[in-house]
Symmetry: C2
Subunit: 232 residues, 2 copies
Amino acid sequence: MNMAVFSIKRSSDCRNCESRPKNVFCDLPDEALDLLDRHKIVNHYKRGQAIFHTGSLPSGLYCVNSGVIRLEASGSTGNNHILRVVQSGGILGYRSLFANEAYEASAVVHEDSQVCQIPKPAVSELLAKFPAVGLKFLAYVSKELRHAEDRLCGMADKNAAERIAEALLFLKQNFADQTWTRKEIADWAGTTPETVMRTLADFADQDIVALQGRRIEILDRDALVAKANLSL
Amino acid sequence: MNMAVFSIKRSSDCRNCESRPKNVFCDLPDEALDLLDRHKIVNHYKRGQAIFHTGSLPSGLYCVNSGVIRLEASGSTGNNHILRVVQSGGILGYRSLFANEAYEASAVVHEDSQVCQIPKPAVSELLAKFPAVGLKFLAYVSKELRHAEDRLCGMADKNAAERIAEALLFLKQNFADQTWTRKEIADWAGTTPETVMRTLADFADQDIVALQGRRIEILDRDALVAKANLSL
DNA sequence: CGTGTTATTGAAGTGTATCAAATTGCGTGG
DNA sequence: CCACGCAATTTGATACACTTCAATAACACG
């Protein structure tokens, strides 16, 4: 919950940013990248730090350079939910900014990260001068909407084991070298750490995963896919 | 499941469309409205008809002129889910079009509707010539994303009664003169018709709602809000 | 005025949360 | 670098909210 940023500096330039080929700014002309360069603020965050908090108003976009960040929404009852997980090439804070709403979730650093903040006025200027960026974002948000609605359906007609299998596939596939606690898996799958544990033990019995301490290794990906009962 | 459209005609013009002030096209210049007018196709659909189906590819946008349309996703187990409900001023098919994906849900007419179809090329032209439209859509999709993620959290840490109370508030508030079956309420709230029934009976006992046959009248809105335990 | 759909109520079964307690593993500071 | 302390894991027992199945009643529609 420490919001302090332990290092602020101007990075060299966006043109050579290794995360750019993977994000919405991938094929911008140099002029646009210069615009970003002039206004961006490079920040470094350590694990556990929050980049922004639920309820506060967005002041710009966050472009993740390196590291991993969780988007967590905290329910009224104290339960947390991991809405999204973002890494190099991902963007944070776009939903609230474009909808002109307060943040619905907090961005918590999962692995030490370098993040560029692009102030709101610079984003506006970018969108005004390069409309193609807006369309890129439109596609990005639209895909995220599908993802959210998919999960919504899954919460309703999948059981805990199916959702946990799905969570394992998602987390391990996209963030292979990260460690995820039982609670984090539960917060993603919409269940409890105990149920995650029992399900993992069950999967281990069937040699689908291997549990070595708190590490989880997927042994039989196909079996896990079958367990997840994916609709798509 | 009848896809036949029982009437096709060109409407007078978008400028005088009574749904426009409520939608993303609200403050477009005349030139843009002319563009829409030249390309749009006005269709009429009857209750139960599908405007598009899960899995098929989008060929344009649908602008709802009048009527009510449900967006239904059918799960693998046969359960349906109502993802969104759209009426005059709403747009359909935008998510798939912008994400360049197949439809994730089917659009089923709930109340006889008049819908304008705007072919994909016309949408592209509109976005290219009037970038502000893209930003409008960006805000629209971003808000929808919040809605979906809100519901996602609700599915995880609310019980059936809370979700049903929420569903009643949503459906009755936005679509006051529509009738909703127990199954439709269940499909929205992520539960079963039986649980909806029992919860409604419970609410009726407490004089929160009145049940007259299959009509539902909300007697005590505040009590229902309390039952829903809204976070926002 | 039938006929199929929706509503309604009951009974039974179970998946999953909850609570609790012991154990393990990890990071931190001495 | 080791030991300590705390957080995460693990397992068990219990409870109950909800689904599921079933059967009757009410309604709406052609």
